[in-house]
């Protein structure tokens, strides 16, 4: 009996299945099944019984109670969405700016880069942020006082100046808010700087040379070359920033507390699904808006 030998492509495909098999296994066991189960729990109430738990179907009771009885959930949800909408553009703009800055040649650049990536290491955890705030709250009496005072004063003068020059108060508030939260923004833009920097490195220098010969200034070549070339990365960073700001905020705390302190698993699952739908909606809208402007070189 002759069996037709496999072509190289088929062979490679089987190797591909082999290589991805841990992932496929994990995807089914630790992602897809839990996702389905979570949806099922959100439609029911879980009761702990001896040696396990019982699932009682309740329809949309959890979802309705979420928006009618629950005092915390709608408020926290709105708050975290607003924080996200305010922070993400700032993070993107700042990280692009920082990446362009760090991409230039100057003395002490390795040091500056090392410092700029430090937040990736220090502030990627929720604990670090938690303890800064608790420390400022408690320790401000002794130490932080002078710093705090001058910070408020500075942005106050800045806002006065901008208001007088005729900017609308909304924009002024936004900018001064950004200045006040500079640490928060810097500390959450480490990965984004890294992605932008890697992208900037991959822009071919010949483009800049050609534009320089044609007489373009640095400003022009930024908007005509650098910016269009990094638009795909803006999309990547947008998705990353949105998921990242959402993965460490108040609403997650609320969901975890509902599950493991109140032991209302059904309600917690419903919360997380509403939250997930919000994230998905925001992602879809923003990606839809941005991706039309994205420029692909090849």
């Amino acid at each position: 009996m002759f069996k037709k030998p496999m072509t190289l492509k088929q062979k490679n495909a089987w190797y591909g299945v082999l290589f991805a098999s841990p992932l496929i296994f994990g995807m089914i066991m630790l992602f897809i099944l839990p996702l389905i189960q979570s949806f099922r729990y959100s439609l029911s109430s879980l009761d702990m019984v001896e040696g396990g738990f019982e699932v009682n179907y309740e329809g949309f009771a959890n979802y309705t109670s979420l928006f009618t009885d629950n005092p915390d959930f709608p408020r926290t949800l709105v708050e975290s969405v607003v924080t996200m909408v305010v922070n993400v553009p700032l993070i993107i703009i700042f990280s692009l700016f920082a990446a362009v800055l760090l991409n230039q040649k100057f003395r002490g650049r390795p040091f500056a880069r090392a410092v700029f990536f430090l937040p990736v290491i220090l502030a990627s955890s929720a604990i670090a942020n938690m303890d800064i705030s608790s420390f400022v709250g408690g320790g401000a009496i002794g130490t932080g006082n002078g710093e705090e005072g001058s910070g408020v004063l500075q942005s106050f003068e800045l806002s006065e100046m901008m208001l007088e020059s005729g900017l609308s108060p909304v924009i002024v508030d936004y900018i001064t808010g950004a200045v006040d939260r500079i640490y928060e923004i810097i500390s959450s833009s480490g990965v984004q700087i890294l992605i932008f920097l890697a992208g900037l490195q991959s822009i071919s220098p010949s483009l800049y040379e050609a534009s320089k010969i044609e007489g373009a200034t640095g400003y022009e070549s930024f908007w005509k070359i650098t910016f269009p070339m990094v638009t795909p990365l803006i999309l990547t960073n947008l998705v990353y920033s949105i998921t990242d700001t959402f993965s460490s905020n108040q609403i997650n705390l609320l969901i975890s507390e509902t599950a493991f302190q109140v032991f209302d698993f059904g309600l917690s699952a419903a919360m997380s699904w509403v939250f997930f739908l919000c994230v998905g909606l925001i992602l879809a809208i923003s990606v839809g808006l941005i991706s039309r402007k994205v420029f692909y070189y090849d």
Partner: protein, 316 residues
Amino acid sequence: MKSPAAYADLFVRRYNPVDRTKGLVWTVIRTVLVLGFCFVILFPLFLRISIAFRSKVDIYDPTVLWIPRHFTLENFKIAMEASNYFTAFLHTVYISSSTTIIQMASCTLAAYAFARLRFKGSGILFILVIFTIVVPPQTIMIPLYLTYRYFDLFGLIQLFTGKKGLNLIDTFWPFIISAGTAMGLKNGLYIYIFRQFFRGIPKEVEEAALVDGAGVLRTFFRIMLPNAVPAIITVLLFSFVWQWNDSYYVSLFLKQVKVLSTSLMDMGVGLKEPDPVYTSMLLNTGVLLTIAPLLVMYLFVQRYFVESVERTGITG
């Protein structure tokens, strides 16, 4: 003799004052900005270090700004005792290093399959991988907890032992299993990075290896991995650090066993210190103790890390 105008022309051509001033101004602005941002990043860290060495007397002394007057290591001692530092430290090292190595293996393998060894449905699978980044971990939190609480491989364990699954809570197995199946902390991102990187390596290299008689495995280990060193360094550092700092999965799967991030959370309660300011000072010391190993590591690794970033070439 040349006219003054000609001299001026010569001067402009030789020294180019406008461009020079522009360059100089930009250098100054850039230096100020870079220094400013560096200051903003480093300031809280320096403040923490300065406060950690202060004794109780110095808290209410307004003349102490940076250098403590009564230098002491008392805070470190109390914080270490309150958080069981050495056991927690060992646990954290075990978890971080084991998951880092295991998920490196599973992620590179999967990423190579996505980049070069396409099979039917690999596109859909990759979309699902991206989906894992987007779905908040809270959504699958409870089922995941219950999966590990009554761990059972498709009912096999119940079949053989008759028990209703194994209780894997408070062991390290949940971390190892998630890492081995590339479903650990932010693994979707790592797969994405590696896939982009593998796709950037020219196909000719692999073809040459094939012509020389290397199989898929050999090509992967001898050609692809050595070429992907920059991406590997970046991902190694990320996964180690994020696992180290993670408090979410750790507090989900480990209720009794303490690691650094969770022992830090309990420390404030365990201190029984009446003075809230001193408590926050001790907490600050605890944070410093948690991140100190990372800082030391970063000091050694940062050179390779910063270099590797340039060559990672993550693109959209």
